[in-house]
Subunit: 321 residues, 2 copies
């Protein structure tokens, strides 16, 4: 039997041809000293240091192939990794990708995943320089991202100082709203549902914040209150968020929250995966950033209008109690 | 109900505490400018370039938890990634790790995995600087490794020249022999069975080869003939392996091959996962290396004693035909 090109599976094509398809003819940024095809790639690190971060996405846990296209999954995996580099005040220079899937997976789906990855990588301004393709019972996408500080100090979680403004770049709660809409089978609010499948981190704002003197920074991957708790603990200070300042975020979610039947604040304060950046600034916040709270002397905690937040604060991988 | 510490699962402990346990109190090498705990780590790259490679291991495909302990799995994942950096002629500077496992996994097993990773990383002389822990239906270990060329040119697959010696550092066929022994339930030949669970790449020999003028280099991850085919194709030359030179490798496998009932040459020529290094040298080969063949003018191919190799040549992830 001779199956057509369009019906071919990973098992038909094999690892090496597939890797070749995923990398051949793709653009290489000037950060790539040696691209894919050898035991390792070589990436420029002119600063003398390299920032590195990694995230793993598992089918059924971090994405569903009945909601997301493979192209969406590729974009999301690249975007959320890029956000971690932004949150250090750095520029993404390269990605490597590990990908596992069942041998019966259509090669066309893997090509679409690769296209999504390269599309998002191009948005970031970086190339995919290497990877590994393996057989796995379900899809697993593991991305590692490298970044360049260009002489800057990395912006840590621990640098916030009392009296500073806390500001955000990007949106809050959209991905969580989208998840709830998908989960409840509500096929309106296309933009929010789309945001759950493909986040839109505020690319370049990490460096803007660093250059504007950001003291501390984090990307909102698990939930605003939960992630800011890391900043509060690392900095040994209290963070007080303002519902007045955040009401603009809430407004965007009200209709969807009514449709789902939840409090939109739970998405603003507890929703992750939008990969907004939150940073502390001593003085004025730069263009593209909005003040949402203050850093105060006090025990390491996150408050809302001066009081503890009793609602959903964020996600942990194993659903700890 | 109050379960004891020793019975606790990933679901009991949660992602953040687990990450803390896996990284707290571990040694940091001088290559680490910023260790785990923020959105990204920062690794020294004094050379102005960084080498990067990644490998994914899936339970049931790349390891079995009824053969390997979690400690073995951790060592193997680190070792095979380190070998890719060696094969570029570089020194490993840091690792990041993505790990997926079911929530009901005992935390003690994950601690053992981490201990194995740190033990092997210490052997390499590098630290684990970051990671991601997620829920997954089976264990998935994804490691990315960074390396430093220290001013050297990377040793590519494409640099072999006609008339050069082909030499190996490390062992061939041991992992494949060990796999066959495990698979056939033969509980003798402990050392070979052990080698399948934990490879022993010839750490530091990649740099030795580079400094001795290696023209081309690769690590044997999929099988000697299959991997050398990449070198032959990239260099546009014929590689001719010598059974006389390789008989010392065969000798170590004869007893196990008789017990399993196979030709030991199939392990020497087709067995991967030992992560031996193979390199081409114009002149004398350095200490720690043995000549096993020659590079010749001719079509891109791998021969054995001047004739095509008809046996098993190596592994591909999706078992391509």
């Amino acid at each position: 039997m001779n199956s057509g090109e369009s019906d071919r599976t990973l098992g038909d094509i094999g690892e090496f041809e597939l890797i070749d398809r995923m990398t051949r003819g793709r653009p290489e940024s000037s950060d790539v000293a040696l691209g894919p095809g050898d035991d390792g790639a070589v990436v420029v690190a002119a600063d003398g240091r390299v920032v590195v971060s990694t995230d793993m996405l598992v089918e059924g846990r971090h994405f569903r192939l009945d909601w997301s296209t493979p192209h969406d999954v590729g974009r999301k995996a690249i975007a959320q990794n890029a956000a971690d580099i932004e949150a250090m005040g750095a520029r993404v220079t390269a990605f490597v990708v590990g990908f596992g899937a069942p041998p019966e997976t259509a090669a066309a789906q893997v090509n679409a995943l690769a296209d999504g990855m390269w599309e998002e990588a191009a948005r970031v301004g970086a190339s995919i320089v290497g990877g590994d393709l393996v057989a796995s019972p379900q899809w697993v996408v593991s991305v590692t991202v490298l970044g360049d500080l260009a002489g800057r100090a990395p912006i840590l979680r621990s640098g916030a100082r009392s009296g500073s403004h806390l500001a955000v770049a990007g949106q809050l709660g959209c991905s969580a709203a989208g998840y709830a809409l998908w989960h409840n089978g509500i096929d309106r609010f296309d933009e929010l549902r789309r945001r759950h499948l493909v986040p839109q981190p505020p690319y370049r704002q990490g460096r803007v914040a660093a250059d504007a003197g950001a003291q501390a920074m984090i990307d909102v991957s698990d939930g605003l209150v939960g992630d800011l708790r890391h900043v509060a603990e690392a900095s040994g200070l209290t963070i007080d968020l303002s519902t007045e300042a955040l009401s603009v975020d809430r407004e965007l979610l009200v209709g969807a929250a009514e449709a789902v039947g939840v409090d939109p604040w739970s998405w603003v304060f507890g929703g992750g995966e939008d990969h907004a950046l939150v940073a502390a600034f001593a003085g004025r916040v730069p263009a593209g950033w909005r003040v949402i709270g203050r850093v105060l002397d006090g025990p390491a905690d996150v408050l809302v209008d001066g009081a503890p937040w009793r609602g959903y604060a964020g996600w942990q991988s194993f659903g700890a109690r």
